[in-house]
């Protein structure tokens, strides 16, 4: 196992061969006995079949990334073997489906007849269990863990439950026995202390939706688009109940204008999309900023630009999230870096929108949306359902008179006004007066100061050179950071998911640094650029392959960049 603390296995084959189920089963059984797990799957753009893989990482410590070096690869077909064999670490093991193809003995692979063995138990779907049994042998896992999992999983109150359980347990045994005939051994999985906290197993999109639910989202309108669709589907299913409204829109233009309507009408309103949808919403987002309407746009980033890479990960929408439209506007942006943070971001984004009365962007990523992880059960009761200040006075109210935030009238109640996307006077009527445009522009920006409660991480704050990833690159960057520390190479560590407005104290610290290294998944180094525009000496480490950072890459590139800075050769 990598560093003797975790175990990474990838299941690869053709869509439909059961890779995802196998990974999920292993994940669940490991989580049930107390391990930290993370799964990650990629799918091809075609609907049925196509090369698919699922990966799981099991550890006795919280898992920070899906990991780049495999301990084991399960290759369901030749193509999968060819594609993924290189990712297996020295000393790792490959189990391949010998019904599909044969390999010469290479000292690290062995074949098994998954289907045949599975079917021999009388359950044609037990092939997966054969695979899991073999893996269990390799890491010397107690048979009991998997048996228990099988019993739980297949106790469904149906007449043939027992029969199925028996067959699956038999299949586990067959896999174990098969692997035992080889001399392969991956050492023992580290022991665990069973956590005494409650856990849930969720992916990033589910966590965002749950966070939004916890903060009391009222209205959700969205248009399907990968990798955000699952949020819409979750809401369609679950946002039920009095005064709630959820609907599939006819386009993202409809989504943004509809939630602006709902936000105007007093509701906590949200949509979810990916880059192409965010681009299409541009004009509507500018409108919400201008009218001071609370709403949240979740952008689950995928590879861009344009239709781009719908099933790959990237962090290249930062710029348009911050400045989505023409004119002077810069939006609050929250970019969670872990599944847990997705929950928080789902809640805080809605609360921020209400608090400052304007649009907020929640910037997630494909990588997080497709990652399942066991996390401590989010504290729903602890989430505040923050609501805008509502105007409750008499009529004749001047909604836009004050030079900063003012209570918002809600239709049906007193204080009728016009929410106007043209520049407007205190009652919301159109005006072109220079003094009014100055007043209103300053009013709109002044409200951002209300959002200065973002938290951040700060470690080794005295170091002149610091690492500051954002979003989903937090995991690999942190692993690299820890590894470098272990090697005696020391930097400071900064991290926040509150990208805009940046917490004041954080920004003040960053300005003191000689170099802020920003690993980010885009070409332009978008966040580092932004930091430089704020007066921070930031430099990006970029990657634009559609894949997450590899920890080993970062371990090389971070010290390289730090060194080149010392020699004065950094870009800007």
């Amino acid at each position: 196992m990598q560093q003797d603390k975790d175990f990474i296995v990838r299941f690869a084959g053709e869509g439909g061969q059961g890779m995802v189920t196998a990974a999920d089963s292993l994940a669940q059984s490991a989580a049930q006995v107390g391990y930290f797990i993370q799964t990650y799957s990629t799918f091809p753009s075609q609907i049925v079949g196509g090369p698919t893989w699922a990966q799981i990482r099991i550890s006795n410590k919280p898992v920070l990334s899906s990991g780049d070096q495999l301990d084991a690869l399960i290759a369901f077909n030749r193509e999968a073997y060819d594609t993924h064999a290189d990712a297996v670490r020295d000393g790792g093991v490959i189990i391949y489906n010998s019904e599909e193809f044969e390999l010469e003995d290479d000292g690290r692979s062995f074949g098994m007849r998954f289907d045949e063995l599975g079917k021999s138990t009388g359950n044609p779907r037990a092939a997966n269990m054969v695979v899991l049994g073999a893996i269990a042998h390799l890491v010397s896992w107690p048979q009991q863990y998997l048996n228990d999992f099988v019993v739980r999983r297949f106790t469904r109150g149906r007449p043939n439950d027992e029969e199925i359980i028996k067959a699956n347990i038999e299949a586990l045994g067959l896999g174990r026995d098969g692997a035992a005939t080889t001399s392969f051994d991956l050492g023992e999985l580290p022991s665990i202390e069973k956590p005494d906290w409650d856990q849930v197993l969720v992916n990033g999109n589910q966590a965002i939706a749950l966070g939004a639910m916890a903060a009391g989202v009222d209205t959700f309108v969205g248009y399907p688009i990968s990798p955000a669709t699952t949020i819409l589907v979750f809401m369609e299913q679950n946002l039920t109940g009095e005064d709630k409204f959820v609907y599939q829109a006819s386009s993202e233009i409809e989504s943004i204008n509809a939630i602006a309507g709902a936000g105007f009408a007093g509701k906590k309103a949200m949509t979810s999309t990916a880059g192409p949808g965010l681009s299409l919403m541009s004009e509507g987002v500018g409108m919400a900023w201008m009218m001071e309407i609370p709403l949240v746009i979740v952008d689950v980033q995928r590879g861009g630009p344009a239709t781009g890479l719908p099933t790959k990960t990237e962090q290249s929408d930062f710029q348009i999230a911050l400045h989505p439209a023409h004119g002077d506007a810069s939006l609050p942006v929250i970019a969670p870096g872990t599944v847990e943070e997705c929950f928080t971001a789902g809640a805080v984004s809605l609360n921020w929108a209400e608090r400052y009365q304007g649009p907020v962007i929640l910037l997630s990523e494909h990588m997080l949306s497709e990652r399942s992880q066991n996390i401590p059960t989010p504290d729903v009761a602890g989430v505040v359902d923050e609501r805008r200040q509502v105007y409750r006075g008499d009529n004749g109210y001047l909604r836009y008179e004050s030079s900063t935030l003012s209570p918002m009238p809600v239709p049906g109640g007193p204080g009728s006004y016009v929410a106007n996307a043209s520049e407007h006077d205190p009652m919301g009527d159109t005006t072109h007066r220079p003094d009014r445009h100055i007043h209103m522009t300053e009013r709109r920006f002044s409200k951002l100061a209300l959002l200065n409660d973002g938290t951040y991480e700060e470690e080794l704050a005295n170091e002149p050179i610091v690492i500051m990833p954002w979003g989903g690159s937090k995991g690999p960057a942190r692993e690299a950071y820890d590894e470098l520390l272990a090697q005696g190479i020391q930097y400071g560590w900064y991290y926040t998911m509150y990208l805009h407005p940046l917490p004041d104290a954080l920004l003040a610290s960053l300005k003191q640094k000689e170099l802020v290294i920003v690993p980010e998944l885009n070409y332009l180094g978008q966040f580092a650029s932004y930091l430089r525009s704020l007066g921070v000496r930031a430099e990006a480490i970029t990657q634009y392959s559609g894949l997450p950072f590899g920890v080993r890459d970062l371990i090389v590139r971070i010290p390289e960049l730090a060194a080149s800075m010392k020699q004065g050769v950094v870009k800007s």
Partner: protein, 291 residues
């Protein structure tokens, strides 16, 4: 706005058709307040961008809530408002360019949903606010600043379109008859479903069609506008289609679906059967016990 607002600097040109439409809307809303005892703050006027859209600032008397957003997006905003707040009365006021050109994509979805709002479209066959360019209802061969050699495309028939897309209330009005128009708007607001009131509201500056609509016997001009016959069966859609495809501009109620079920009714009915899920329930559904 109730009183003349010194900062507001737009005014319709003398004679603009939109004055008549304003009167009609004011009357219809006031009648609604009288008969239903509804407070004015329960009404939201969602306006398009154009001379017509300035309606939201120019309404006199009791002041409803208003939205003056971006060009072409009245319907999706109305959808968000009415979807999330079925208790509100939502009235759209937009022009032919705003509603039928840049906003054209939004009509079909709302008609399919039978969204319970009323849209008053001020059709002047031109883009007024941007100074006279052609609109979807400008006729073939007409010369405008953007069609200096004559418009090369035919005019859209909006009434036909609304009927085909399934609007459940379709009426045609004319701004020079504000009393009749007020009645159509009032009935449209009472209709439970997607209600279109399409109004001929001539632009006296760029496309003055008053004479063409009303006719001028002395010049031998036959009126384009004619009243929907008294015996027209307004529940008969095929008959309505025939009227709007026949000639000129039939004025009056063309169609009202007696069986209309609006989105809010359907939504409430379906959702009343669903269990309410709290955030805690949902979080718990992802829990698993550590053994």
């Amino acid at each position: 706005m109730t009183t003349k607002n010194p900062e507001y600097d737009f005014a319709w040109c003398p004679g603009c058709g939109d004055f008549g439409v304003r009167r009609a809307i004011e009357w219809a809303v006031e009648r609604r307040m009288d008969t239903l005892g509804e407070v004015i703050e329960n009404t939201v006027v969602v306006a398009g961008i154009g001379c017509s859209g300035n309606m939201v600032h120019l309404l006199e008397g009791p002041q409803p809530f208003g939205i003056h957003g971006i060009h072409g997006r009245t319907l999706p905003m109305a959808f968000g408002i009415k979807g999330s707040r079925p208790d509100l009365n939502v009235l759209i006021a937009a022009g032919d360019g705003d509603f039928l050109s840049i906003g054209g994509e939004h009509i079909a979805p709302q008609a399919q949903r039978n969204l319970n709002v009323t849209a008053v479209i001020m059709d002047n066959g031109v883009y007024g606010l941007t100074k006279g360019q052609s609109s979807p209802t400008t006729a073939l061969e007409v010369i405008t600043p953007t069609t200096p050699y004559g418009k090369m495309e035919g005019a859209l028939n909006p009434l036909d379109l609304y009927l085909t897309l399934g609007a459940t209330y379709v009426a045609s009005g004319i701004s020079s008859k504000p009393r009749d128009l007020a009645n159509l708007i009032y009935d449209a607001m009472n209709h439970s479903g997607f209600s279109m009131v399409h109004v001929q509201s001539p632009c006296t500056t760029y496309n003055d069609t008053f004479e063409a609509l009303k006719g001028n016997p002395r010049k031998g001009i036959q009126p384009l506008a004619w009243n929907v016959p008294d015996d027209h069966d307004t529940s008969d859609k095929a008959a309505a289609v025939e009227l709007v495809r026949s000639y000129g501009v039939p004025v009056g109620l063309l169609y009202q679906d007696p069986d209309s079920v609006a989105l809010d009714e359907r939504y409430a009915q379906i959702m009343s059967k669903q269990r309410t899920r709290t955030a805690q329930d949902l979080v718990d559904s992802f829990a698993f016990a550590v053994q």
